[in-house]
Amino acid sequence: MAETALVAQAPAHPGRSAPVSDISKRGSPNPVGTMESFVYDDAIVRKFLTATVVWGIVAFLAGVIVALELVVPSVINYTTASGTRPFAFLSFLTNIQFLTFGRLRPLHTNAAIFAFAGNSIFAGIYYSTQRLCKARMWSDTLSSLHFWGWQLIIVCAALTLPMGFTQGKEYAELEWPIDILIAIAWLGFFGTNFFMTLKVRRERHMYVALWFYIATIVTVTMLHVLNSLAIPAGWLKSYSVYAGVQDAMMQWWYGHNAVAFFLTTPFLGLMYYFMPKAAERPVYSYRLSIVHFWSLIFIYIWAGPHHLHYTALPAWASTLGMLFSVMLWMPSWGGGINGLLTLRGAWHKLTDDPVLKFFVVGVTFYMMSTFEGPMMSVKTVNMLSHYTDWTIAHVHGGALGWNGFMTFGMIYWLAPRLFQAPLHSKKLATTHFWLGTLGILMYIIPIYVAGITQGLMWRAFDETGNLKFPDFVETVAKLMPFYWIRVGGGLLFLTGALLMAYNLVRTWMARPARYEEPVQSAPALYATPSHDERPRFVPALTSNTDAGRKGDVVLQSFFNGWWHRVWEGTPYKFIIWAIIAVASGSALEIIPMFAVRSNVPSIASVQPYTPLELCGRDVYVAEGCYNCHSQMIRPIWAETKRYGEYSKPGEFVYDHPFQWGSRRIGPDLAREGGMRSNLWHVLHLQDPRQSITQSIMPSYAHLLDAPIDFDEIQAHVRAQAMIGVPYGEDVKEGVSQKLARAQAQTIADNIAKDNGPKGLEDKKIVALIAYLQRLGTDISKPPPAPAPATADAKPDKAAVSSASAGTH
């Protein structure tokens, strides 16, 4: 360690100029208990590390495949002069229902977030927590259950998502049985194990990395449970208990904080542990890290509504989200700078050490993303960036640059220590670094360009005041060159990860026959604060009254900072304060949204979906249509001109879950109802490129064969009625089925009459068309006549059925 230089520079810092031999005594100045021996559990870290690498490759590969799926449709019909179609063999990517973009994109995001980043977090936390606590993990059984439970969840996700079992909410797609498994594995196994390890720790002070882990565990539990609340309608089908605006609010409160507390706080904890390790010097400023922690968790929880600017969400909520997002600039950059400056006096190591290279670029990407995020949350910027690829570029800067590179750096640092053999090849690791960096740049730069290009094209008007690009597909076809470059960038990133896997396998092969397990020892910790940590009160006021003395004591103890040290020393009080910080923000933001009725003014003409439309909506959700199509027209001239009347909050009161979407790879569908004939929809879904030559939509020909399960419709209507959708008589056995069959027959007849395919009356495509023809039409209908109290909404629904079955 280059301690001598530091001595000269900072003689006033006793902590930084101390000889190495003294370091061990730091942190626990008062060894009070008896010496105890223990061994760290590194086997569990090795397991999580392996899983990280394996799932990382799966996630990156899935990413490359979904990137390909966006470009392949533009070339499969390419015909050479001699009449051959050289790219036709790739059409399986758009024809096979299990591989369509709508089903694989959730698989890609879930694999990247929960499988790759998740296992990486666990590997880092299990390694660092044991060492920071000077204790083995509390229970080897729980460690093991956590590991295998989490892998089981991932496998379940990988099986159910391509099959179309989804809740239809981004990053929370997994169905309810898997959601329950997640809650058990996360809090029951991981949380319990972690908090009990804190309890039996032998180091009084909880290092700042541990605070970030605590915030991660408690907040993710809260987010996951509250957002996933749903009524089951079968083993792999459920409906969110929230609807429309409130569901959107919950979803993006969850979605944004999944970024905050799954992809940011745990990785910041890892940064605060592994960065000093790799740089061989303490973090730049421990003070800054305290301010960083409290302000970050306090502010982040508010930022969610910035995903819903100009939507039907009340403006006060999205303004609030914007303000807090802008405030996030400070803690994020404070933390980033703290990480980078940890390298003070050690920058020369950067030339030589791939670990530090990964960390420095990782933290730089963190600062870039957290600069860009607040900027994009400013409403006027968001007006352009929302629904475009700009968002996609932004998240990939964060995910590949920050989460990816921090993970890679950590893996290269851990591997020689865990496998107890020198890293097979430093050169290969450096190659991985450069491939990865190039890959990220090759991904994000063209996608930024694509996003801004498309955003500008959507809002461009010609001199006559009409849309310059009225045909949506024009704005998509323009992006194809950028999408091709992205495939290249993704391939580079994937190749880097494969090099890492090879490097690790070779390192693992050089491991000793039996891993050494050095026995550690540290004095036990008593539960009470040690003597000199208790406040020593010297009353400054020589007051005679007892009250004055007491007040003085309280004030002094506050300003001595004693309270914070007691928190740090007592995990449970600390945990409670962290919960208060995140829960108060959530409650204060969300409760008014649910409670104040003026936030969602009701519209009398908006009625529940008919049973068949509900079934069609299930198909829409299962196929993952929301991954490419929004259902939310913003009150912006260019949008009302293109799509029609802007969306109102009252239109979504029966939408369990909401399907507003976050990206328009295809056009918005909020006012799709009645725009086109039923037959047009059949032909378009069957082969999109027959109707729209440049379309990149997958083919949904399988919907012409898949039969509707009419019995299921009855169960689904009942589940919807349970969460408050006024279905009236429809919940009675057989009623919904009958209604659905009748409406399906009408639509099928209409299609047959137009010389379309025959015999579709029991096929899923009819249900989907019924739903599409209903979208956004209620608002222009006359409000229902005040019905007599005995007859429910049935007459209205009959009217709705006949209206939506019409051709135009």
């Binding site: 902590g15 061990s24 942190g27 060492r131 000077k134 000093p276 390790k277 020689p416 409670a595 009725r597």
Partner: protein, 74 residues
């Protein structure tokens, strides 16, 4: 009267302001107390914790010689 009518009349729009005040006071509190001079040595000790764990293993009352406990170098 529905629950939401009751809630509407409570003036909950003030909630975000309350939260802002709450946050600002916690923030100022944290900043004030971390910048107290007498916390310096505690914080410096804390900052060294990640570096202390490996050294700890070399001075243990372990049956193995200390050299064994050293982590492999890259």
């Amino acid at each position: 009267m529905r629950m939401s009518d009751v809630m509407s009349s409570l003036g909950l729009a003030i909630f975000p302001i309350i939260a802002l005040v709450l946050f600002l006071s916690v923030f100022i509190g944290v900043v004030l107390q971390v910048t107290r001079r007498n916390r310096k040595s505690t914080l410096d000790n804390a900052a060294f914790l990640p570096l202390a764990d490996e050294v700890a293993s070399t001075r243990l009352a372990s049956p193995q010689p200390a050299a064994n406990a050293k982590e492999p170098t890259r």
